[in-house]
Amino acid sequence: MTEEQAFFNEMQDAAGNPRAAYTALANWLKDQPPNLLKKKSREAETIFRRLGITFAVYGAEDSGERLIPFDPIPRILSASEWRKLSAGIDQRVRALNAFLHDIYHRQEIIRAGRIPAELILQNDAFLPEMVGFAPARKVYSHIIGTDLVRVAENEFYVLEDNTRTPSGVSYMLENRETMMRLFPDLFQMHRVAPVEKYPDLLRQTLESVGPDQAKSDQTIVVLTPGIYNSAYFEHAFLADSMGVQLVEGPDLFVENGRVFMRTTRAPQQVDVIYRRIDDAFLDPLTFNPESMLGVPGIFDAYRAGNVTICNAPGTGIADDKAIYAYVPEIIEFYTGQKPILNNVPTWHCSRPDDLAYVLDNLEDIVVKEVHGSGGYGMLIGPTASKKEIATFRKILENNPSNYIAQPTLALSACPTHVASGVAPRHVDLRPFVLVGDKVRITPGGLTRVALKKGSLVVNSSQGGGTKDTWVLED
């Protein structure tokens, strides 16, 4: 078997024939002059830079603003593939919200013995402050980005659920805008489901969980840590496209159990806060007293039912890597159905047997920190050097319960513009889901692509790029 066939190629089958969804694109690519993609890539970069679509990389040497590389070749999903994916995502986000409500109330799932109590009660992501409190419509995680990877024709795995403050949706929207500017002819050849309604849907979702549903015009704000946050562009973008204020902690204050913003006129009461700061920073009176980003007293206003915070504090327990392995159980327990989308098999290094297996097979597997994100602090066995593996082994042995491990998945690959022309590169997929009065899934998502040949790390902080993601309509 050659290297080229060791993974699922989304554009063409083993014989080199384009798959149905990619036929038009494959033919189009063949007809283009050799320098077109290079030229279009440069145009795209100019557009992104001018619009200020940048992100900051933490700890980078030159920690200024960067562009996430944009690949001009779209990733295409057929209508039937999407139907299955969205049904699976719908099922999953309903189950996770039911799970959150349960563990902060009667904890039936623990009583039923489906999940060990200590895994929840002793988990840092479990917030005792949330116990007994039910947010509007019992929705905890309103905005979710489900990370998926594909390994075969009909085989998708859920890698992570991202139920706290998933980012990347602005790239889904801006990538599409850019593609429509760069390649109008390609859009004429395909029926691509639009993604542009996302900001409206987000607003409807936020309005649907406002504390006072009788109020006709609710004041919604986006709460950002400020311009130095890596996703600041996205915060501004979402506030702007929803037509709501973008606020920082000091712009808000609490009085008589209600939240207000300081305006150039009288203080204005706030009903719904789409917060993009972490739980710990939300309220210095309740959580981290050092926080300069949060709003003193906001948690009490929340518990008094005078303001809705999206996502709810304490949702991190639902995407905790230690809980992840139990999500299939969670789905069955709350929905009574078999999971439509599968989990990646996972070893918990806290269990001696699992740890032994992981230590014996470090060369072949991926090890991640339980609470880590962004591709930091992980080991990818097959591409790591002997020395890196040896170093990691020590770290792992010192603190095994901090790690989980998964088999190295052969991520699917999509045609990508590279120096030598067009070549397959590995991708993942993050569709964006909204949960409020109903579940709204935007057809598309963010495709991240590992630009280095053979690389499986798609994180933008580690040199990954993005692609526009097309869901075709029937």
Binding site: G226, F237, D240, R262, T264
Partner: protein, 316 residues
């Protein structure tokens, strides 16, 4: 509107205006340094540029000896000089970025592109022959900013705060330019007795305030005269950098603001007060008060207005 948004819009405009003012000061210094003038101290133009920019003391402390290259670098590129063009452009841009949702995409692109292109400039590559074009480019970018603001922005409170920022800064700059060498504008000091003698400093002042040509139109039959120049730059509201012009805008904006917010905040009254005193005054009266005293007093009032504005509308 958030108080913080008002603040960012106000300072975005102030810093953009300051970048342009600094570049005009340098343009003038650069030009007059090339023209030999008798009785002039070495590098006098550059020292004057520092004084006009209000940076002489800081320069002496941080850099020391005055040299063309040193002053140019300090006023354009130095990251430690809070009013260097670089810092102004960055601060304007950071303020704009903090209120990205409150400004139009045209305005944002004008500011952001200026920032990006400026950041690409290598100070070492800026040889003396390239300096005039570079300084002119900074002015042009400021004009693009103003144009975008005027042509694309909704006339709401955000627009008003941006206007206040521009004209408070501009009024302060004009008063500073005049005050740095106020004595050359005193008619009584004009003891040479020759009506045809035009002091080179007069052209410098007009050039720094982009008024050399328009002066000739405003005073068609007159030579450059201290009295006229002072009047032109202080009391003639048709001159876009005159104090009266700045307060004409500020007063109009204050009236729009009063209507928009249905309020009579103290700052809005102050704007009217300052403007009407400029309208009533004559140059004779100003010379009687003393030009230096008048300009110093004006800068204080201008500053008080800005402080009161931020107090009234909850921004720091």
């Amino acid at each position: 509107m958030l108080g913080r948004t008002a603040s960012s819009l106000f300072w975005m405009s102030r810093y953009q205006e300051r970048a342009q003012n600094t570049s005009k000061i340098l343009e003038t210094a650069y030009r007059s340094a090339m023209v030999p003038q008798s009785g002039q101290t070495e590098n006098g133009e550059w020292l004057n540029a520092l004084e006009t920019a209000g940076a002489a003391a800081a320069y002496e402390f941080n850099i020391g000896e005055v040299s063309p290259k040193g002053v140019m670098n300090y006023l354009i590129f130095d990251r430690n000089n809070p009013s260097s063009v670089r810092v102004c452009i960055e601060t304007a841009r950071n303020n704009a970025r903090a209120v990205r949702t409150a400004i139009t995409s045209e305005l944002w692109e004008a500011i952001n592109t200026t920032h990006l292109e400026f950041a690409d400039v290598n100070p070492q590559s800026l040889t003396p022959d390239k300096i005039p074009d570079f300084l002119a480019w900074i002015s042009q970018r400021s004009h693009l900013f103003r144009g975008s603001l005027l042509n694309t922005t909704l006339r709401d409170d955000g627009y008003f705060f941006s206007q206040f920022g521009t004209f408070v800064e501009r009024a302060d700059n004009t008063a500073r330019v005049l005050n740095t060498r106020y004595w050359v504008l005193l008619p009584d000091n004009d003891v040479i007795g020759d009506d045809d003698f035009e002091r080179p400093q007069w052209s410098d002042i007009l050039r720094t305030l982009s008024g050399k040509r328009s002066y000739r139109f405003a005073y068609p039959n007159a030579k450059l005269k201290a009295y006229n120049i002072a009047e032109f730059l202080i009391l003639r509201k048709e001159m876009p950098r005159a104090l009266a012009h700045c307060y004409d805008w500020i007063d109009d904006t204050a009236k729009d603001m009063a209507q928009f917010y249905d309020t009579t905040e103290v700052s809005l009254g102050l704007a009217e007060e300052i403007y009407s005193s400029l309208q009533k005054m004559t140059m004779r009266e100003i010379f009687d008060i003393g030009l230096n005293d008048f300009l110093t007093e004006f800068r204080t009032r201008n500053n008080n207005f800005a402080n009161q504005l931020s107090h009234d509308f909850n921004f720091a």
